[in-house]
């Protein structure tokens, strides 16, 4: 079985959404048992589980669209890093709790805007997944935005730390709302969403929370980096090596 990516734009579009959720779920999974307090442990695990659930539905759908018999596990465990299409934001390392929360907040705000619009997709399967996922993402956003506010407007130390997280992670947000050929094609086909509209909604949500958190929105960066086109940094390779190690060590085994 080939371990390549998916070329057809529709399948590729769904795969991008799947991969972002999967990679972020994998990152959050690293926290379980190690969070600052029990409630945060449970909260991060809850988000991780939802994202993993969404990833599984989306991977299965992408595999069906491809029509070559690849299931969720073939797509998750047997693709190389260069064929992963997650946005680069989610592959960034967990860092401290503030880094994780800021990454999560920026992503949750995007997902809420995205899923809210994908519910109208002509791809009915994708629309159904988005409808279900939207409820979960709203919940994730309450958790992450709540923490951004508490850390931003907490102690001087927490303020400084979380502003640093925001500054470091901000450059990775550019691709979230910057359309490329696949986004344009899927918008034209009535499958995808208008990223300009997502951008406007994301801006509003981010600005509102940052101001409540007394945090300064970083300047937009001229730098363009597209994880969704397979441009990844140094971290994704290790994340996948760990995630795929057992599955690949026993080719064809059933678990």
């Amino acid at each position: 079985m080939s371990a390549a990516g998916i070329d057809d734009p529709h399948g590729a579009y769904v795969l991008r959404l799947a991969d972002s959720n999967l990679v972020l779920a994998q990152r959050l999974g690293e926290w379980i048992g190690h969070a600052p307090a029990l409630e945060e442990d449970l909260g991060l695990a809850n988000t991780a589980l939802d994202l993993l659930g969404q990833a599984r539905l989306l991977l299965t759908h992408a595999g069906d669209l491809e029509g070559r018999g690849r299931d969720e596990d073939a797509l998750a465990f047997l693709r190389e890093e260069r064929d992963y299409r997650n946005v680069a934001l989610v592959e960034q390392p967990n860092g401290d709790f503030g880094d994780t929360i800021v990454r999560q907040f920026l992503y949750d705000a995007w997902q809420v805007e995205l899923y809210g619009r994908l519910g109208a997709s002509r791809d009915r399967q994708l629309a159904a997944i988005a409808d279900k996922a939207l409820k979960e993402s709203n919940y994730h956003l309450r958790f992450s935005a709540g923490w951004v506010v508490r850390l931003g407007d907490g102690t001087p130390e927490s303020h400084e730390r979380v502003q640093g997280s925001l500054d470091r992670l901000w450059p990775w947000t550019v691709e979230l709302c910057e359309p490329d050929d696949i986004d344009h094609a899927m918008l034209a086909a009535g499958v995808g969403v208008d990223l300009a509209a997502v951008r406007a909604g994301w801006d509003r949500r981010v600005d509102r929370t940052l101001s409540e958190a007394t945090l300064v929105r970083p300047a937009d960066h001229p730098w363009r980096w597209f994880g969704k086109r397979g441009q990844h940094g140094e971290h994704l390779g290790r994340l996948l090596a760990e995630m795929q190690s057992l599955h690949r060590a026993h080719p064809g085994a059933q678990w």
Binding site: L22, H34, E39
Partner: protein
Amino acid sequence: MDTAALAERFQARIDADERIEPKDWMPDAYRRTLIRQMSQHAHSEIVGMLPEGNWITRAPTLKRKAILMAKVQDEGGHGAYLYGATETLGVTRDALIEELLAGAARYSSIFNYPTPTWADIGAIGWLVDGAAIMNQIPLCRCSYGPYARAMVRICKEESFHQRQGYDIMLALARGTDAQRRMAQEALDRWWWPALMMFGPPDADSKHSAQSMRWRIKRFSNDELRRRFIEFTVPQAEYLGLAVPQGEIDWSEFEQVLAGHGPCNRERIAARRRAHESGRWVREAALAWADKQRSKRREAV
């Protein structure tokens, strides 16, 4: 009423199988015994997240990953629930956690063993959650109301965990030679520690008799251990795995209990690291809550 009369009435209520509630009078020793047992139980749930968490990022399929994440999250929930139940006895969760981090509190020794392979995740679910259920089902009728109610809820989830663990073992046992070997080795590793989970032999169990009188405990360690073996051996046979033969090495039990197990230091170090590196986060949350309170006061 004098203490002797109160104690007599208390024991009469226990003998009549009534539940004792937080506001009821209870002997100090009863309260202390419950605090010790319930907090140990809560700590075990939390420390128990570590050996299984070790495989979340490497689970061999996405379905297994989701099940394992949910399981470890359940254990965290059990911990939260049990700390809450222990707080009804007049201690705080923070104080209990400080004791754990200081190395002054116990938790189930089983979690001081490592999980080197995926099969260990199956073995833990099958054997460790299985042994936990044997221990805990009688606790659903424990004389202390909040503990009994916590256990009803927890036991339901533990039995899911047990079935999920067995299902992992079944897939391995029906799998490749390498998978079968992995399963057998995990059974070999976990069998004796699982049997030790029921505690020392009855003759050496120092808390048992009083706990039985208080109906915190209803069956002896050896009785529960015997039931567990009876229940589990046919399951191993169905898997086509060999149950280790021989005797429990109680000196190993003593050693692990005394802090010399393979992972005692790592487990506490991991909990301490999480606690220490989360300090600024907890402080921020408190500072923020204070600010909100004073803002509300100003608004009034």
